[in-house]
């Protein structure tokens, strides 16, 4: 198994810079988390944007789409902020020949308590079994991306009404 990780930023990659007393999106956390999990599959990690998903533009989404299209790997894991994860997924909707799973986290991977490691595992577990399509893996559930939405008040994803 070989997969490509496209890192776009979001809460999962948030770090804290004390000197500026500001928080910002840092290096992709997928690399250290995969090492912590001692994964044995092959992977490449590509950092495409480093943004809060609320800051993501159409140009960013076009770039992400292009990177997915030219990827020689069929299995694509996209780490992304949760606020506009479904919008970026929609921008990829016409890609037909790849298995694309989005995930992210509600709390930064660097926190002692975080959903990041579980979510990454969940996405990886599903990615290698799913048929081609575009999915979201959050809160332990795998769903076609167009069928879910973020419930911001509850900090979780749920089926669209």
């Amino acid at each position: 198994m070989r997969l490509r990780v496209i890192s776009t930023g979001g809460t999962i990659d948030k770090v804290y810079f004390d000197a500026a007393s500001s928080y910002d999106v840092g290096d992709p956390q997928v690399e250290p988390l995969f090492k912590e999990a001692n994964v044995t599959f092959e992977y490449v990690i590509e950092s495409v944007t480093r943004k809060d998903s609320l800051a993501m533009t159409d140009a960013d989404r076009a770039l992400i789409r292009e990177r997915v299209e030219v990827s020689p790997e069929k299995l694509i894991l996209i780490t992304h902020g949760t606020d506009t994860m479904t919008e970026t997924a929609a921008a990829l909707a016409t890609i037909k020949d790849k298995v694309i799973v989005f995930t992210g986290s509600m709390l930064p991977a660097r926190f002692r308590t975080s959903d990041a490691l579980f979510n990454l595992g969940c996405a990886v577990g599903a990615l290698q079994v799913l048929p081609a399509g575009i999915y979201i893996a959050m809160n332990g559930q795998i769903a076609p991306a167009h069928t879910v939405r973020k419930n911001r008040a509850e900090s979780r994803f749920e089926p669209k009404a």
Copy 2:
């Protein structure tokens, strides 16, 4: 989605009791880890044995098999020590109508650095997508249980030669 977790012990549940200065198998860690991941599916957790997998007997395996067979849930996640995970999986081989995924961890879930949370996520992600069968989810890879073995020197699972 609703799944049954059958907890059998193993490293993932190892705790440390200072008074006795000994390490032992504690309560199932699945419960706090699922809460940390803020999962939204339904689940029940059943603690069947609390053993190092090297200590597991035929009677233990018969009991695990019975608990799987009587489970009303079709999706079964079994947390298990890694040393004899494949043997317990073999004891379930003739169960045909359920999706059964084994997982565990090389380092206790209570450690700051551990593969437990990722492995659980990986198992949950695959479980809901896989056809009926018996699988092992370790090191980020999902495989039919009879096709893999633990490489003890390398602390990972790999395909059987």
Copy 3:
């Protein structure tokens, strides 16, 4: 031994709110950290401000001073943002009959890797041994507050030139 903790905010108490995708100063982290350390001394925790120390005003400092002055406890631990810790300490300089130790952290207490727990321990260890005065406990060193400054580029405290 009995001590009063005056919590004023700062990085040590930083939390992350996903819905707003913003970081902010949360509840005093001293309480859960003292529980984690299983401390056996008596203490009260008083939350006076919840601010980044760069946002702290003269009025805030007057309030902190008043709270210290009226404290029936002689031993005072003040958790504070690092950027203006020495300025708040200077505002207390004429208080003569109490042992006052400031501490904080460069990384939030909620991070997997943080100096928060060590710094709190260091402050508590020194507080019960020091003579009356105003001190800063950062980077494992206890110093009279007016003798040190934050080196922002290096993210540590050092003796004033």
Copy 4:
């Protein structure tokens, strides 16, 4: 400030080796914990024994005593298992010209939740302020070593009756 750390083993240094499914005393954890705390004082770490404190012999205690006596540093931090910490302290009782602080932890430093980092901080904070003598720093309290004992049932230190 310059201090010598004498590491003797104990729970604070406990690690977990999966291949053997056993727990054992590993490398001194003081080094990574000091780095996590970003300490700025000078220190040397000397690993003298790697033992559960229940396994410590008179010969071990004689060795620890010798290492303290020949230390050029006046400030000595000894990490030690909690069960016989007071006995090793008693073996050093006639050393008059050094400040010696014992600490350790009830839960391994590698656990997500542990008293190790706080206890180390507490010992370091007190060490640089205390007069010559032999002390124990546990549960946030500094006490002359001969005045306390471990309450095993409660997993904490307390004054001798």
